[in-house]
Symmetry: C2
Subunit: 334 residues, 2 copies
C-alpha cells in the first residue's frame, strides 16, 4: 500500500506538506500543491481512512443500535439510514442490543472505545441516563424520551395513530374492542395505549379491555388466548404493533375464528409482514424507511455542526385499511 | 480522556514502556509491568482502540456484506455473526449491496479504505474477480464459487436439499411438479435447480417444468401466475427459496387454489416467514443463525492465523414438513 511518505518522496516535499494538502489545512504554495496532487493521481494513492481518522478524530462511521434486527421494522430502518450514510461518505456499523440469549449487549461501552462519529439509537435497552453520559457524541434517537443535549429525536404520532385505529374499529361496528400493548418502558407502548384509552373513554357504551404483551409474534399469540378466555365476546382488537398482530391472526386462524367477521384486527407499524398473512392486516403505517433516512441526515447535520440545539421531529402516520378489519355491511348494520 | 502519556507519567516510565505492556510485545521487567498495570486499573485507563488499530493495523471490526438486509434470511445470519464477533472483542459493520434503487453499492472499495480486519461476504453482487483482488484480506464467503486464496467458504447441501424436496412432493402423490428457480449467477439457484432436475430425470413419468424468477415475494407471485397459465395441471411446486414460496402461497390463496390439496408447495431456506403464513410452508431448513456464527468464527481464525489454507465447510439441511405439502391420504392413494 502507498503511504504519505511515498507521495512525499516522489513529489520532493516533506510528508507534513502532503498531509497539509490532503487535509486542506495550513499553507502550501500553489505550485507544490499541484505537483502533490499530480503524484497522488499518478500513484493511485488513497489516504488511509484510519490514519486520517486518528488525526481528525473522525472515522466517517455511523453506528445504528437497534434492539433486534430480526424484527422486520429494523432492516427497513437500517436500509434508509445506510443509503443516506453512503451518499455522504459514511459507513454504517450495526449493533443489536438483544443478543441471542436476550441479554442486552452494552453497545455504548463498545462504541465509545472506537471512533464513531455519531450514533442512531433505535432501542429501549439503553438507559437514558447512560445516554446522557455520552452527550458529547452526536446522536439521533428514535421513539424515546430523553434529555440528551446534543440529540435529535425522531418519532411518530403514536397517540393520533391509536385514535385512528380505535375509531376505525368502532366505525366497522365493533362493540367490544380490546387492546394488546407492549412493554411500558417503551415510550411507543405507552402512547399507543393512551390513544386507545382516550377513544374508549369518550364512548360511554365501550369498556376498556387491555392486556400487556412483549411486541413479538409469540407474545401476540399468548395475549389473544388470554383475552378470549376472559372476554369471549370481543369483536375488535387493536394490537400495539404489527408483529403481535401477525401472531394474533395466526392464532385466530388456528382457532377457526373468522377475521374480520367475528373479530376485526388492526395493528401498528406498517411492516411488510402485514401484507403476506391471510387476511392482510389493517395497520397504522409509519414511514419506516424515511425515518432511517431522516435519522442519518439529522445525525450528519449534528456531526458537521456540533452546536445545534436539541430537536424533535414528529412524523405523520396513516391508517391503511385492509381485509382484517373490513366487516361486511351485514355485520355492521345489524 | 486518559492517554498513555498520563499512565507513563504516573508510573514513572516512558510511554513506549506502557505501550509494550499494552501490546504484550517486547521486554518489560516484571516489577515495572505490575506497576503499570496497577496505574492502569487505578486510573480507569482504556486504551484508545483506533490508536491501537493504527499501530497494530487492526481495528477489531468485521464487516458483513449482504445483498439485502430486508430479506429475513440475512438478519438471522447477521445476529449469529454479531454474537461471535462481540464475544471475541470485535464489532460488526453491516453493508447492503442492494441499495434503495437496487443499484449495487461497491462496498469493497468503501471497506478497503478503512481498517477492517476481515469480511464476511453474503451476496452475489460482488464480482468474484474483484474479490480475488483483495485476497490479502481475511474472508469468509457464503454460498459462492470463488478462488480467493485466503478465504473460507460456507455453504449448505443445496443439491441434496432439492433432491429431498422434489422426492417429498413425489411421495405426497404429486404427478406434475414444477420448479421456480432464482437468478443463475447465484450459485444456490444453480445447485437447487440441479437437484430438482436430477430427481425428475430419474422418473420417466415426470416432466421437467421450470421457470426463472428473482428470489423475491413478488417474483414468486409472478412466476406462479405464468406457470399456471401455461401448465394448469401442475399439482406440486418446489420453490427455490422461501421468500418466493411466501408469494406463491399468497397468490394461490387469492386464486382460491387449495394448498396442498390442489397444489402442494415446498420452499427452501427455513426463514421464520414460512411459519406465519397460512398454510405453514414445508421447507428445506438451513441452519441460518449457525452459518453466521461459523462465518464469524472462521473469519476470526483467519485473522489470527493469516496462513490458513483455503477451506470449504458444507452444512447439512433438513426437510421440515408442514401443512403446505401434506396431501390427504385420499389424494396420494387414488
Amino acid at each position: 500500500m502507498k503511504t504519505i511518505r511515498d507521495v512525499a518522496r516522489c513529489a520532493g516535499v516533506s510528508p507534513a506538506t502532503v498531509s497539509r494538502v490532503l487535509n486542506d489545512k495550513g499553507y502550501v504554495s500553489e505550485e507544490k500543491k499541484k505537483k502533490i496532487e499530480k503524484v497522488i493521481t499518478e500513484m493511485g494513492f488513497e489516504p488511509n481512512q484510519v490514519a486520517r481518522g486518528l488525526a481528525k478524530k473522525t472515522s466517517n462511521t455511523l453506528a445504528l443500535i437497534v434492539s433486534d434486527i430480526t424484527n422486520p421494522f429494523f432492516p427497513e430502518l437500517a436500509k434508509g439510514a445506510e443509503q443516506v450514510a453512503l451518499s455522504n461518505g459514511y459507513t454504517l456499523m450495526l449493533g443489536n442490543t438483544k443478543g441471542a440469549d436476550n441479554k442486552p449487549n452494552d453497545y455504548t461501552k463498545i462504541l465509545m472505545n472506537k471512533y464513531i462519529d455519531g450514533i442512531i439509537i433505535a432501542t429501549h435497552d439503553i438507559d437514558s441516563q447512560l445516554l446522557k453520559k455520552y452527550s458529547n457524541m452526536p446522536m439521533a434517537i428514535l421513539e424515546m424520551e430523553n434529555d440528551v443535549e446534543n440529540a435529535c429525536t425522531i418519532k411518530v404520532e403514536n397517540v393520533h395513530g391509536s385514535v385512528l385505529a380505535t375509531e376505525h374499529l368502532i366505525s366497522q361496528g365493533c362493540k367490544k374492542i380490546a387492546h394488546i400493548y407492549g412493554p411500558l418502558y417503551d415510550q411507543t407502548s405507552k402512547e399507543r395505549l393512551q390513544g386507545y384509552q382516550k377513544v374508549i373513554s369518550m364512548h360511554s357504551d365501550y369498556e376498556e379491555v387491555t392486556i400487556q404483551s412483549d411486541f413479538t409474534i409469540d407474545g401476540g399469540i399468548n395475549a389473544v388466548d388470554q383475552l378470549l378466555h376472559k372476554y369471549p365476546d370481543i369483536d375488535g382488537l387493536f394490537v400495539g404493533n404489527d408483529l403481535m398482530a401477525v401472531g394474533v391472526i395466526k392464532e385466530l386462524n388456528r382457532l377457526s375464528i373468522r377475521v374480520p367477521d367475528e373479530i376485526a384486527v388492526c395493528g401498528f407499524d406498517g411492516i411488510y409482514l402485514t401484507r403476506i398473512v391471510n387476511p392482510e392486516i389493517t395497520t397504522i403505517e409509519q414511514p419506516i424507511y424515511k425515518m432511517g433516512e431522516i435519522a442519518a441526515e439529522k445525525l450528519i447535520d449534528r456531526i458537521n455542526n456540533p452546536h445545534l440545539n436539541r430537536e424533535c421531529i414528529v412524523l405523520d402516520v396513516k391508517l391503511r385499511v385492509r381485509q382484517s378489519s373490513k366487516k361486511s355491511k351485514q355485520n355492521t348494520i345489524f
